[in-house]
Symmetry: C2
Subunit: 289 residues, 2 copies
Amino acid sequence: MKDYLLRPDPADPRLTERVVGRDHTGAEVAADVVVERPLTLFLNGQEIVTLMTIGDHPDCLAVGYLLNQGMLRADDTVTDIEHDPDLDVVVVRTARATDYEAKLSKKTLTSGCAQGTVFGDLMEDFDAADLPPDAKVRTSWLYALTRAINTTPSLYLAAGAIHGCVLCEADRPLLYMEDVGRHNAVDKIAGYMFLNELAAADKLFYTTGRLTSEMVIKTVRMGVPILCSRSGFTAWGVALARRADLTLIGRARGKRFLALAGEHRIVYDADPEAVAEEPKAAQRKAAVT
Amino acid sequence: MKDYLLRPDPADPRLTERVVGRDHTGAEVAADVVVERPLTLFLNGQEIVTLMTIGDHPDCLAVGYLLNQGMLRADDTVTDIEHDPDLDVVVVRTARATDYEAKLSKKTLTSGCAQGTVFGDLMEDFDAADLPPDAKVRTSWLYALTRAINTTPSLYLAAGAIHGCVLCEADRPLLYMEDVGRHNAVDKIAGYMFLNELAAADKLFYTTGRLTSEMVIKTVRMGVPILCSRSGFTAWGVALARRADLTLIGRARGKRFLALAGEHRIVYDADPEAVAEEPKAAQRKAAVT
């Protein structure tokens, strides 16, 4: 299989920290834990938000955040991205003049381990989305993808307590981003896709997190027709996926999965009984929540 | 063991919805998924926020949210709480006149599956907190608590994809709240404690979620000296717990756990080898993320 375009770099010393504590026997032990750091995002002259992030790919995170909040449009030209690692600031500049003062004053805290804040008019774009009805996902791809993702070296495997999102094409995982907040991992993928002009219509989005409303909204906004997770569903996530005709596949572990929307895109070409159960070491237990 | 003061009611028909989809064999199957609904919160005359929640205990959620955002003080008198289930609105009224317009305009999106928004001055109260140094947690209590919590009927066991938080005293779980967003579950417990005048200094807080910075901040704000989770840590969560001398115990599953702050409160009175591993059915896999 061809390698990822981008994959986690668990050896990056900036992303984890070694701390010493005591285990259940009272013995002193060391553990690696993931780092969170603030990143303050400016769009042109305006301060938009401070995000807590592991700090890799600040350019992708900044652009993806703005895209997924509707502050950057698909046809916008990004003229410059400056990241100052000492000040923890990233500035995105666009050809179009922007002003989101009114937008910034209206907010909804969403549920899930998710974005937290959705600015007012996300749903307008949602209903305008047009996912390709003839995109397909083969069950043999699903099995190959989850096996590949689960065995890719990652911060999750090294330190736990982190979310992963993976953009895939057929049976190949392309972009694998991680972050403490799942929303950041999604946004980094959206930003990378924008900056590198990757198409969305032939992709599948995989997440370790739950299939909540905002995960569905973001996937639909990105134009990706298939969303897959090893975790479960919420009712609103299912309802929105059905409204947008997004293929929603959850609880995907070993040979099992459950599709609750857009099932017409699934091609059952693999024999589930021939699929091995997940190896113990690859199982995400409850470490990521 | 004495029963909970409050425990999940997974049979409440408002909390889950049955949806039909297809499984990995292509067969039609039904699944229960948790419901998310909006709840718009007013403090006196001011609209504060719209939360997405499963919708149980709106009074506790409203009061706990305001407390944990520093908009309601420990010495405030709540004169009235009105919940309108048709409008999805809850109004909290206080004896003191409140005005948080300036506060509402400044926000930080936090990481984790967490709050999402932290208003500016949370950290001031954090540093003023004074957790009791002589509170203790026995390892025998930890083992008894995790066993009791894992076997309590819950929305998690019924439908998955939900977070749980439990307020405990010695080896007894007292309050068990669930919500799609972990922050809501915490806030509901904080609200219940305020409305029922429960003390915090002799309690332990258990969460299914990760031990991130905001989880630590909320626990310290609540005045609870011990925070325990089956999930992992972030570096900032550990640093803040050490700064506040909060006892931070993570990765608590079966006989194992890891303490990364405030270890002096742990009394090792149980033989870990005598503790049974978790039964398979009680294991939270990655369904909650």
